[in-house]
């Protein structure tokens, strides 16, 4: 049995300790906004925040979560930075198929929270672990720059 804080709500789940956080979120808690992409931490589609830091939920065993607060895409609109990221994503039509965008938004929110005025290099370094098969990178970068210039 594991008790975890997800989006401000306490949940207790009866799962093996090595069950990945992603599958606890998707199967047990029915929070399906975080996507299964590669299952090997290679693509970033499953990115969620643990105490504000992005992690790859597909390789994070539930036993490693402990007391850390889990935040998923379902709750990011309640974060000041996250809300602006989502709004800008919509305004610039960043997503194409959208499958990776949950992870992209979680990564961009973490980047802009840590560094409100990232350079191109900062953006490339920070976002390089989030792959987009539609190749929406130019729009992702434009959206992050727009947020940086507009002040986050």
């Amino acid at each position: 049995m594991y008790t975890l804080q997800v989006n401000g709500i306490s949940h207790t789940v009866d799962v093996p300790g090595d069950k990945p956080l992603l599958w606890v979120l998707r199967e047990n808690l029915k929070l399906t906004g975080s996507k299964y992409g590669c299952g090997q931490a290679l693509c970033g589609a499953c990115t969620v925040h643990l105490d504000g830091h992005p992690v790859r939920a597909c390789v994070t065993p539930i036993s490693a979560v402990g007391e850390q607060a889990v935040r998923t895409i379902e709750d990011i609109a309640y974060d000041a930075v996250g809300a602006k990221v989502q709004e800008t994503w919509q305004n610039l039509n960043v997503p194409q198929c959208g499958y990776c965008q949950s992870g992209q938004i979680m990564a961009a929110t973490a980047l802009l929270t840590d560094n409100p005025t990232p350079t191109d290099r900062d953006i490339d370094e920070a976002m390089s672990g989030n792959i987009c098969r539609c190749g929406t990178y130019p729009r992702i970068r434009r959206a992050i720059h727009k947020l940086a210039n507009g002040g986050v």
């Binding site: 090595d18 090997q40 970033g44 830091h53 994070t60 490693a64 840590d114 370094e125 920070a126 672990g129």
Partner: protein, 175 residues
């Protein structure tokens, strides 16, 4: 006669190199420290490496300012304090890159030995501190229990500590 002269000349020319040859006590330590399990995170690059072929770490992982990744991709985004995902994702406490001052790539045995002892590069560790670090640090010990099908250094850990102790007791000779 000529071959004899040539041999003498070669032997003479080789003397300075022999004088600079690495310490026999350090050689087995060098072979452990340059094993991929150790060297892949003691890089001189802005990124870690992985695998025995020492390829650049997947996911375009970057070193970051504190050697623990960049803000959106900390090492801890995937690496826990123990190996997870059936050994696919290695992990140990304080998983991260060694600072650039402790980069060991492309150093000769003598250079690596000197850098290892240099307190301005090694985190101000004495020889005894180095021994203690390599004997007990959980991240060092991970090198011998790396999970999955990863290879381990050429000496097992007790053997490694034994040769390290001999080197420390001899005053840490590099040449």
């Amino acid at each position: 006669m000529k071959p004899i002269f040539a041999s003498l000349l070669l032997a003479f020319l080789a003397l300075p190199q022999l004088a600079l040859a690495q310490s026999a006590l350090f050689q087995p330590i060098y072979e452990v420290l340059t094993h991929p399990r150790c060297l892949n995170c003691h890089t001189k690059t802005e990124f870690p490496r992985q695998g025995d072929e020492r390829r650049r770490h997947d996911q375009l992982v970057m070193r970051g300012e504190d050697n623990h990744g960049v803000p959106t991709l900390h090492c801890s985004a995937c690496h826990q304090d123990h190996n997870v995902a059936d050994g696919a994702v290695p992990g140990a406490p304080h998983w991260g890159l060694a600072p650039l001052s402790m980069a060991w790539e492309e150093l000769s045995p003598v250079e690596l030995c000197q850098n290892l002892k240099n307190t301005s590069l090694n985190g101000n560790r004495s020889l005894d501190d180095l021994l203690h670090h390599m004997d007990e640090d959980a991240l060092v010990l991970w090198g011998w229990e790396p999970g999955g099908d990863r290879t381990t250094p050429p000496l097992d850990h007790p053997e490694f500590i034994s040769v390290l102790t001999a080197w420390v007791n001899a005053g840490g000779p590099c040449q």
